[in-house]
């Protein structure tokens, strides 16, 4: 899977974006220097040779050097992994926690004013563009109230307080859309589960409604939510690119955009591989969690 992705990315990048030498040397580069550099970087070789060369290096753990900065690609990614990992994982956790509450309220009290309120907020959350929400939050919480800084990053260790101050708005910005999606999915799923025969049986046995809801209905309703969580993880990374730009976070998303604009093929390839692994890993974890949530599922 990863190999197929890298192959597709490699051909797309070289086919669509073309030659990086003018960006390395400047647009007023003289043709002789550009040709020499192209040769030295191996960009004048057939694409399949270039690809196999890159793949061979990657298999040995050598992701090469950035064409633009000349720094090792692995180092470039390592330096930016912290903010992106914190942003995406914290956003996912916040979205999941908020959706659990909101989706349960909307599903359990289906058709009520609470359901209407939650559903409306969720739809707004899903449709609100990241950059607009981010800038609006900055104007309110950084410029007007002065509660948090407008942007920038402080590492989690050794300064967790300052880190939280800097990361609060980006995490909220990125998670809002996912709160909306996950809450709506949970609401539908819970609504269907609450009508199931085994839930009616539980009620008939005289169980209190709270126990019926939490113990029997909610747990079984989480499977579609988890599926969506896994699928949406790739999109979460896309949202992180925008959020990192608005809040000036030094993350992998900005590295990727910069590398695409600069035709920095080794960096783009490596980040795409990383993202692919990330999405595959999260989806694997989601698949495995089905068995824990629903005893009827087993992988034996």
């Amino acid at each position: 899977m990863t190999v197929l992705v890298t192959m597709a990315v490699f051909w797309l990048l070289h086919g669509l974006l073309g030659d990086p030498t003018l960006l390395i040397l400047g647009r007023d580069a003289d043709p002789q220097t550009a040709a020499r550099l192209r040769h030295e970087l191996g960009l004048d070789r057939p694409l399949d040779v270039q690809y196999l060369d890159w793949l061979g290096g990657a298999a040995r753990g050598d992701l090469g050097r950035s064409l633009r900065t000349r720094e090792p690609v692995a180092q470039a990614i390592r330096e930016r992994l912290g903010p992106t990992a914190e942003l995406t994982l914290a956003s996912m956790a916040l979205a999941a926690a908020a959706a659990l509450v909101l989706g349960t309220v909307a599903g359990a009290w289906y058709g009520s004013a609470a359901d209407f309120g939650v559903s409306s907020l969720c739809v707004i959350g899903v449709t609100l563009p990241n950059f607009l929400l981010g800038i609006s939050l900055i104007l309110v919480f950084a410029l007007t109230l002065r509660w948090v800084p407008s942007g920038g990053f402080v590492p989690l260790f050794p300064n967790p307080g300052a880190n939280l101050q800097h990361m609060a708005l980006p995490i909220v910005t990125l998670s809002v859309a996912y709160v909306g999606i996950l809450s709506l999915v949970l609401k539908s799923s819970l609504r269907a589960t609450l009508g199931a025969l085994y839930v009616q049986t539980a009620r008939a046995k005289g169980l209190v409604e709270r126990r019926v809801l939490v113990r029997h209905a909610l747990r079984n309703s989480l499977i579609p939510v988890l599926s969506v969580l896994g699928i949406e993880f790739g999109r979460l990374f896309g949202g992180a690119v925008v959020t990192e730009t608005v809040f000036a976070l030094p993350g992998v998303g900005r590295l990727l955009v910069d590398a695409i604009l600069g035709r920095d093929f080794p960096v783009v390839q490596a980040v795409v591989v990383l993202m692919t692994f990330g999405v595959l890993f999260v989806n694997l974890a989601v698949d495995l969690s089905y068995a824990w949530l629903d005893p009827r599922v087993s992988y034996g």
Binding site: L25, R70, S150, R254
Partner: protein, 537 residues
């Protein structure tokens, strides 16, 4: 010359403060007389212009700069990005520096003499200059740097700037360097105000190898502290600096890509100064407490349109001139820039020494445009594709042009192209008619030659006029500046008449800053230096 990323916010740059400190030509001539051909501009010694008229400078504080983009390397021999230059001007010295009118002023080279045949230039360097690593910044170090650039095997992007005229360099003693030229070249010194002129520590370069770009060592008034990619670059005052020491304790260049967020951070005092604000924010910033906006108008950065003059339909001079008369430049300045800019008529703005008022320039004249269209054989108008970068400002430019030319029955189909791909498509002749923008170089030959000389690698319009070629050759082979100015006036007029480009406007440059920031100086190459800045407590 470097092309800056075409963003709305890249349209601005500071003025009035600068003019108060501007070095006049009279100053220059007065001081030049004392050193023969060599110049000794004490006020610009090592790049710190003295503050005039204002309160006495205060020492201390760290300037927090909102940078538009991250640096990719701090190795000047491999630098191409605009974002790297503000930091490099703080860490390194250049051989010579440029004044706000693009005069040449001393920096590491304190004076220089041209041989009678014009083929060698001997520069006398400042004595006892040390790099931040303690090694000597002397003639041998200068020779090492120039030789590095001239060595083709190193693939330095700066090679193209020196190789056409520089045969070699010799160190004649600890402070004497002689440059051997292939032919007399008046733009010689100007090249050393830019990237080819940054002198790095050879010892550090050999120590760090490919990683020098992350461990820069120069002789400038600030020394490198740290660079956290996509977050910030920090530098601090170099106490062993040979020239006038900095007022500040240090500078932090904080990368904030979004202009609206940068502007907000100046308002919340998270940043002291930034550049390239969102044009919509400028009036708000001007009214904000504790904030001021220093503007320069016109700037040294022009916007215009270009086409292939050797391919139909624009191989028709009357057609090109018709469009030049049909473009309402005032409307562009008013609508697109909100009045924050000046109309452009030719490749040279009025702020540089080689500017002369053109005798014939284009004004908005739709009737004349229609007559010329008829003369060109397009009395009923025509349709064509216009390519532009797909940024908000690129598209806005195209849409306004589309609306203006519609009045002449010219129908434009807008072809939006990724900004990083547009120039490549122009060079590959995949597109014909496009938006463009260029920033001046410190010598007129720099930009005019690459754009207009027949067959030059950056001559992307296919323009060829033997008269212009001859004038360009004449102008760069004489060291007499008055003669050069007259020749460049003829070149400007000729290219204006021939219209390989239609120059539309010079956007003003705006720098929003806290009122505590004093003595901000800038140069028409759009690169903020911050060398002279100090902060009130």
């Amino acid at each position: 010359m470097q092309r800056r990323h075409p963003r709305a916010d890249s349209l601005h740059r500071p003025a009035s403060i600068l003019r108060r400190r501007r070095l006049t030509r009279r100053d220059l001539l007065r001081t030049s007389a004392a050193a023969g051909f060599g110049i000794a501009l004490g006020r610009y010694a090592a790049g710190v212009p003295a503050a005039r008229g204002a309160a006495a400078p205060q020492q201390g504080g760290t300037l927090r700069v909102g940078a538009v983009a991250d640096v990719h390397t701090l190795d000047p021999h491999y630098s191409v990005d605009w974002s790297e230059r503000p930091v490099m001007y703080a860490i390194y010295n250049t051989l010579v520096s440029a004044t706000p009118t693009f005069e040449i002023a001393p920096e590491l080279a304190r004076s220089w003499k041209v041989s009678p045949d014009g083929l060698s230039i001997t520069a006398s360097l400042a004595p006892d200059v040390r790099f931040h690593d303690g090694t000597a910044c002397d003639a041998a170090a200068v020779k090492w740097n120039i030789d590095f650039i001239l060595n083709q095997a190193n693939n330095s992007p700066q090679f193209k700037q020196l190789q056409p005229f520089l045969a070699g360099v010799d160190a004649g003693g600890p402070t004497t360097v002689t440059f051997r030229l292939k032919k007399p070249y008046a733009g010689f010194l100007a090249a050393f105000t830019e990237r080819p002129g940054f002198i790095v520590s050879p010892a550090a370069y050999q120590k760090y190898g490919k990683d020098f770009g992350r461990n820069p060592v120069g002789s400038g008034m600030y020394q490198f502290v740290e660079w956290l990619p996509d977050d910030h670059v920090a530098i601090k005052r170099f106490d062993g600096y040979w020239g006038t020491k900095s007022y500040l304790d240090g500078i932090t260049y904080k990368v904030v890509p979004d202009p609206a967020v940068r502007d907000t951070m100046v308002r919340t005092a998270e940043l002291d100064i930034t550049s390239e604000p969102d044009p919509k924010d400028v009036p708000v910033l001007q009214r904000a407490p504790g904030v001021k906006v220093v503007s320069e108008n016109p700037s040294g950065h022009w916007w215009g349109i270009q086409w292939r003059v050797d391919r139909p339909p624009f191989n028709n001079k009357a057609l090109r001139q018709a469009i030049a008369y049909g473009v309402d430049r005032d409307e562009f300045v008013k609508i697109m820039l909100g009045g924050r800019g000046s109309v452009a008529n030719g490749p040279t703005p009025s702020i540089v020494w080689w500017y002369s008022q053109p005798a014939r320039a284009y004004t908005y004249d739709p009737e004349r445009a229609k007559r010329l269209l008829a003369e060109a054989g397009y009395q009923k108008g025509f349709s064509a594709e216009f390519s532009t970068d797909n940024t908000p400002v690129g598209l806005q430019f195209a849409q306004l042009l589309q609306a203006q030319l519609k009045r002449l029955n010219i129908t434009l189909t807008i072809n939006p192209v990724d900004p990083s791909n547009l120039y490549q498509q122009v060079l590959q002749q995949k597109v014909n008619w496009t938006r463009t923008d260029w920033t001046l170089r410190a010598d007129p030959d720099g930009l005019l030659r690459i754009l207009f000389y027949t067959g030059n690698y950056a001559n992307s319009t296919g323009y060829s006029n033997p008269t212009v070629d001859k004038l360009l050759d004449q102008a760069n082979s004489t060291y007499d500046r008055n003669a050069r100015k007259k020749l460049y006036a003829q070149i400007d007029q000729q290219v204006l008449d021939d219209a390989p480009y239609v120059w539309v406007f010079y956007p003003s440059e705006d720098a929003p800053m806290r009122t505590a920031v004093q003595n901000y100086a800038w140069i028409p190459d759009s690169v903020p230096r911050y060398r002279s800045v100090w902060l009130t407590k």
